[in-house]
Amino acid sequence: MQTTNCPGGVSAGGAMRAGFILAILFFAAYYTYIAFAELNYLSSAGRLGPGFFPRIIGVSLVALCALSLYIDLKHLPAAEAVAPAWRSAAVLALLSGVFIALFEPLGGLASMIVFMAAALWILNPGRALQNALIAVLLPLGIYLVFQLWLNAAMPRGMFPLPF
């Protein structure tokens, strides 16, 4: 792993770490607010109600996140290791999102082929024939297994296939 040095400040990696726990803290605070504002501690029969457990969870989560944020900010490294291949992970995540967005409009098979072709073109460059074959045959195989053998739900899309 490579290290990013940020003399006198907090590294991008360190800020992201703090940002992640801050995001959890916001989630926890909102969860706790609903647990107290909308859910009753006792039911109409006088037993423990729907708000009892969420209040315990919410308060514990807020307290633990706040404590962790405090400790992490106190000991945040000025330089945090950043993996050199982070771009590949980001590209793959982006492609996954685009794939899901196209999944219903294009249909199962077509969107799988588009996704595989794009992913292999970026991640496995210089092997056009191999990539083309994999991008068509693998989705076709998965489609046949799920659609014909397992009879699973699969979006048909704008251009439904005859099989």
Binding site: G49, F53, L67, I100, F115, N124, L138
Partner: protein, 500 residues
């Protein structure tokens, strides 16, 4: 009925041609899942769960369980030949497995790990056969306080044993509990955190979360670490070795290591939250500490490979005991298995063995057959799995994304659940990156409703007093065991810190 007649009933179910076929497919898939670096049994079961939809419940659970224990075998092949564990449970196998391969003894190491895995797995299943019915009988007297304490014991053990920051482990578990409260409250019928969405009334479906956290999250993390760039270039060419089979002395020298590993592994596996990784690492420590020549460890000692291998396979069997007899999973993998059981209308717990003996015993009997099949596969199909190791991660990765997406969508035909899986994948990536515990989150998500229900019932019985946990003898026993396990876990953490 006694154990033998139950076992014969189970065998009659397990050896039906269709169940044998599912078993064989399951162990093959498990091996394949095991050899993919970064992917463990939890990811394998979650991703492959949708392909069981057309099957009958017994066949489906036999296949999913076979994926679970099959992956324990598979992970070691890459540990020995590539110095890359397929899963955290096979990390200990790299310590001496890879040095053995470098010394030209990859063949004997592969065969010995297969034999040790078979031995550990089979001892584990024998112990399940004997102990699971006893556990089921004992736990029939358990009430809400005991169930709540068992859930908390499993989670706390997992948090203490995972080795990272305990605060992050606890936060992960609390997020899982929070997600588990979404949906209609079963006691009052009031909606909670649904935001008037009809899709949320039934709660957050477990499958998209598990596939996202363990499938996509692990994959993004593997790419982040550049696994797709490294390839399989460092693989040891075992085919060039003069001698593939182990020598007699290998068996003689390691026979007690296998036995120790198997018994230790099973005992650790039974404790909710401990699991195969802890079992294999503890077995390695035990073997090294009692060896007359500890200096050989780390340089190719066969005991250092065989002990942990027997331990992790026995632990995976041991983890089935609380699952079958209590309905409480002790790990992320068994949590996914529990979800599969529930999906098929099977409720594991004290009454399962009495009410559905053909299912429970069919599953146990299939584990004997599965271990035999895995022994054969591990010795004679190694070339096939080595070819699979050679498939570049940059091709395997996008293929896994396809299967995760199709698998999630096919459950309910819901694009919202598919987006939920994607979101869980991103969260899972950051959790891995910053040392949080996706396993604790998933375990808490599955056990959350049981924890809430049993706590509310407990406090209703006791009229709001927490003193009830100290008044019941069974509860006191569970508290005592929990304290002992947590103390052992804290000592283990301290030991690890000192080693670092």
């Amino acid at each position: 009925m006694d154990i033998f007649s139950n076992l014969i009933l189970g065998l009659s179910v397990a050896i039906s041609p269709i169940n044998l076929a599912y078993l064989f497919i399951g162990v093959m898939l498990g091996m394949f899942v095991g050899i993919i670096p970064g992917f463990g049994p939890a990811a394998g079961i979650a991703i492959l769960l949708p392909i069981t939809f057309g099957m009958d419940p017994t066949g489906a659970v036999i296949m999913l369980s076979a994926i679970y224990y099959g992956s324990m075998y598979g992970g070691t092949i890459t540990s020995i030949l590539l110095n890359t564990p397929g899963d955290s449970a096979t990390v200990a196998s790299t310590f001496d497995g890879y040095p053995l391969a470098q010394q030209g003894r990859a063949g004997p190491a592969l065969v010995m790990q297969a034999v040790a895995s078979f031995f550990g797995g089979t001892v584990g299943v024998i112990l399940i056969t004997v102990l699971a019915p006893l556990f089921a009988q004992v736990t029939r007297s358990f009430g809400p306080p005991e169930f709540f304490l068992l859930v908390m014991m499993g989670l706390m053990t997992l948090i203490v044993m995972i080795g990272g920051n305990w605060r992050y482990g606890a936060i992960s578990a609390l997020i899982g509990f929070a997600l588990g409260t979404v949906g209609v409250d079963l006691e009052t019928g009031q909606s909670r955190f649904t935001f008037q969405s009809a899709e949320m009334i039934g709660g957050i479906d477990f499958i998209p979360i598990a596939i996202g956290l363990f499938g996509l999250g692990e994959l993004y993390y593997a790419f982040y670490n550049g696994l797709h760039l490294s390839g399989s270039g460092g693989i040891v060419q075992y085919q060039k070795e003069k001698r593939f089979w182990p020598e007699l002395r290998d068996f003689v020298e390691t026979k007690f290591s296998m036995l120790r590993g198997a018994v230790l592994g099973f005992c650790i596996g039974v404790i909710p939250g401990a699991g195969a990784t802890i079992a294999s690492l503890m077995s390695y420590s035990v073997e090294k500490s009692i060896s007359k020549t500890p200096e050989r460890f780390g340089k190719g000692a066969m005991e250092g490979l065989v002990g942990p291998e027997a331990a992790n396979n026995a632990a995976s069997s041991g983890a089935m005991v609380p699952l079958l007899s209590l309905g409480i999973p002790g790990s992320a993998s068994t949590a996914v298995l529990l979800a599969a059981f529930l999906m098929w209308g099977l409720t594991p717990g004290p009454l399962l063995m009495a009410q559905k003996p053909e299912f429970a015993w069919g599953l146990i009997a299939s584990m004997y057959l599965g271990n035999v099949a895995l022994l054969g596969l591990n010795i004679f199909a190694i070339p096939l799995f080595v070819q699979m190791i050679k498939v570049p991660y940059r091709i395997l990765g996008p293929a896994v994304i396809l299967i995760c997406t199709i698998g999630t969508y096919s459950v309910n035909g819901s694009i919202i659940e598919t987006w939920l899986m994607f979101a869980a994948g991103l969260v899972g990536f950051f959790m891995k990156l910053y040392g949080y515990s996706p396993a604790a989150l998933v375990l808490a998500l599955v056990l959350g409703p049981l924890a809430e229900q049993s706590l509310r019932q407990t406090l209703t019985i006791s009229r709001g007093s927490f003193g009830i946990f100290l008044e019941r003898p069974t509860s006191l026993w569970i508290l005592g065991v929990t304290a002992a396990v947590l103390a052992a876990g804290l000592l283990l953490r301290r030991g690890r810190r000192e080693e670092d």
